[in-house]
């Protein structure tokens, strides 16, 4: 093993072996996944996300939500995902093909969000939670995303979009807290996180 060429060819072979085995094989299996068309209704699954929700996903990525929240439901009997009501079925590869960026996550410092749009349907709840997580959840470890909200003086009529905050969290009189467009997009994205459709490859009990 004294020659550069021999060593380099050997090293390149180990790279090729691993690359083919994992990257290329996965590409062959997953790269061509298509939406599933329900013949009866003509609907495509997973359903496409609305434009504002797609913008919200960008906010989710920019704020690094993935460092504390996963987006995957594991099969029954492995972990406790379904016992915690994080989804009625496991998530599969096809559930993810509609998005540009996939953030499965490897940490659950907060709960899984794969089906959070089914569990929480109130926009107000999300805005309160992002504004100050301790309002909804006593003892939450989530940081506040107050910078996604604007505190402004009420000019004439209060805004219809202003946050409905409990005592002790309200701004001073004559002021209101209004979500920025990024906060609104983020909430639409979270609301769009649902697994309320079936795919043929998902095993049923």
């Amino acid at each position: 093993m004294n020659r550069l060429l021999v060593i380099v060819i050997g090293i390149l072979l180990t790279i090729a072996f691993c690359w083919t085995g994992i990257v290329f094989s996965s590409y062959v299996q997953l790269g061509g996944l298509e939406h599933y068309e329900d013949e009866a209704t003509g609907e495509f699954y997973p359903p496409p996300r609305a434009g504002i929700a797609q913008r919200g996903q960008k906010v989710y990525q920019e704020l690094g939500c993935v460092y504390c929240h996963s987006q995957q439901v594991r099969r029954p009997g492995y972990g406790s995902d379904q016992d915690r009501d994080w989804g009625e079925r496991q998530s599969v590869s096809r559930d993810y093909i509609g998005d540009r960026t996939i953030l499965l996550g490897v940490r659950r410092i907060g709960p899984d969000l794969m089906t959070v749009g089914e569990r929480q349907t109130s926009r107000d709840w999300y805005h309160r939670h992002l504004y100050d997580p301790r309002i909804n959840t006593e003892g939450s470890a989530m940081p506040s995303y107050r910078f996604l909200y604007e505190e402004r003086r009420i000019e004439g009529e209060p805004s219809g979009r202003a946050l409905d905050l409990p005592e002790g969290h309200r701004p001073s009189d004559g002021y209101e807290i209004v979500p920025t467009s990024r906060a609104e997009a983020l909430v639409e994205y979270l609301l769009s996180l649902r697994l309320d459709y079936d795919l043929p490859e998902v095993p049923t009990e």
Binding site: C18, E62, L63, G64, M142, P143, F147
Partner: protein
């Protein structure tokens, strides 16, 4: 390398030539090492903020750029690409030049590469703070930083290949094999990941497969081979005895390269990917133990009977700490990949504990050891303060020990609670129960901060110290050098 008498560095003539090589390497080694130490300080600060935020979510919470989801990726990026890679390159270049018996040629290539690499890291980290992060673990830098890094890397690779190709020694050494392996693996994984996870994200979960393939291999086939090159070079050199069994060493090298690249897929355990991918990961994590054991036998047999030298040689102390961490982290990682264990530790702080066990207790400590050995030789002056070295060693050893212990044990408990929805129906309670462990981890982080400040001050002191004859004379003999410095 199997026989110390065949190592020209051990002859009188070799010693003189080593000095010439060391002196010639001064500019690039100091450039990369100084950049590394600078990023180490920045990274430690960001790591502390990250750690505090976990148990005090309001800490520095009013600015978007300082939110947890920004500081954390900034810290990993600074640590991996700023500190670990700069330090690894400084050490790698020096070992390559010494073993190739080449006085530095075409040093401009390396100096230019140092500038571009660090500008690339700076652009990447700034991009993360501005919100352009990819949010893909260990690949967080925005896509526009990658071309700068790649340009720097081409220069680096060019220099290493030229230095190796035009070497003046009859032999090649195991450290050189590992350095060449790292040299070719990095562009393969970085290029693939940039292409398939950043520039043109692959369809669906495929980008997660590529992402974790990259992240694991950045550790397993970029940092680890550089660390192994350093340990394989320094242990025999400091101890003055050869590595056991040339044949086994080459078996370990090739089998490590074949198996290690597969082991990262356990990060997707239970997830929405085909089951064979996870199985491949578990198999890889298990098979890699074969070379790990051989490497461990190499290292630990070399140490046998020489433990007394740990007291006198700081370079050896750091290096052997790292070698022990490499063996243990590989074994624990293999155990943690198993289905039953993974079910408990997945999605918990255990993951972070294990990552730091590998990246810090193993790789970073190996780099500290190497820098303690090579910087005085390259600069031709001895370390000024044994006290600072001791402070650095004990605070970093205790700090990383405390951090890994807190995260692994706390993560294990967290996992048991997460899997027990009857006893712990409220998720927020589980997160709250991790608080004492997170505070303990932060204390570990504070110790590491002290360690790194001590190291940085010492490096600066060494750099500014005059190069005197008395200073230099401490460096003529090996391995007594370190004894002098440690007294």
């Amino acid at each position: 390398m199997s026989d110390s008498s065949s190592n020209p560095d051990y002859t009188k003539q070799g010693a003189a030539a080593s000095g010439a090589i060391d002196r010639s390497m001064r500019a690039p080694v100091v450039l990369f090492a100084a950049a590394g130490v600078f990023w180490l300080l920045v990274g430690t600060l960001l790591a502390l903020i990250t750690s505090f935020k976990l148990h005090t979510p309001g800490f520095l919470g009013n600015w978007e750029w300082l939110t947890y989801g920004r500081v954390r990726p900034a810290y990993t990026t600074v640590f991996l690409y700023g500190w670990a890679t700069n330090a690894g390159l400084a050490v790698g270049f020096w070992i390559m030049a010494r073993l190739s018996r080449n006085v530095l040629q075409r040093g401009t290539i390396l100096n230019t590469a140092a500038v571009f690499w660090n500008v690339g890291v700076l652009v990447g980290v700034a991009g993360i703070f501005f919100g352009d992060l990819t949010a893909r673990e260990w690949l967080e830098m925005p896509g526009y930083a990658a071309p700068i890094l790649m340009f720097a890397y081409v220069l680096i690779a060019l220099w290493v290949v030229l230095t190796f190709q035009y070497r003046n020694s009859k032999y090649t050494y195991v450290s050189q094999w590992y350095l060449l392996a790292a040299l070719f693996w990095f562009p393969a994984i970085f290029g693939t990941a940039q292409l398939m996870a950043v520039y043109a994200p692959a369809r669906g979960v495929l980008q997660e497969v590529v992402g974790w393939w990259f992240a694991h291999n950045l550790y397993a086939l970029w940092l680890t081979p550089i660390g192994l090159a350093s340990v394989y070079y320094l242990l025999p050199k400091i101890l003055g005895k050869p590595v056991h069994s040339y044949y086994l060493t080459s078996v370990a090298f090739w089998s490590y390269l074949v198996f290690a690249g597969w082991a990262g897929m356990h990060y997707l355990a239970g997830g929405p990917v085909p089951a064979w991918i996870i199985s491949a990961g578990v198999t890889g994590a298990l098979l890699v133990l074969f070379p790990v054991f051989i490497i461990g036998i190499n290292h630990h047999r070399a140490m046998a009977g020489s433990f007394g030298m740990l007291r006198t040689s700081p370079a050896l102390r750091f290096t052997y700490f790292a070698a022990v961490a490499f063996t243990t982290v590989s074994v624990v990682a293999a155990i943690a990949a198993f289905r039953g264990v993974k079910e408990i530790v997945h999605f918990t702080y255990f993951t972070d504990g294990l990552m730091q066990w590998g990246v810090y207790a193993w790789f970073t400590m190996a780099m500290f050891g190497a820098l303690y050995y090579l910087l005085p030789r390259v600069l031709q002056r001895a370390w000024p303060s044994p006290t600072l070295i001791s402070l650095h060693f004990w605070t970093s050893a205790a700090g990383i020990g405390l951090y890994v212990f807190a995260m692994c044990v706390g993560g294990w408990i967290q996992g048991l609670q997460m899997n027990n929805p009857e006893a712990y129906p409220e998720f927020v309670d589980i997160t709250r129960n991790t608080l004492p462990w997170l505070v303990m981890a932060s204390l570990g982080g504070l110790l590491l901060f002290v360690a790194h400040v001590a190291f940085a001050i010492h490096c600066l002191w060494l750099l500014l110290r005059p190069e005197t004859a008395e200073n230099r004379s401490m460096l003529t003999a090996e391995p007594k050098t370190m004894k002098v410095a440690a007294k």
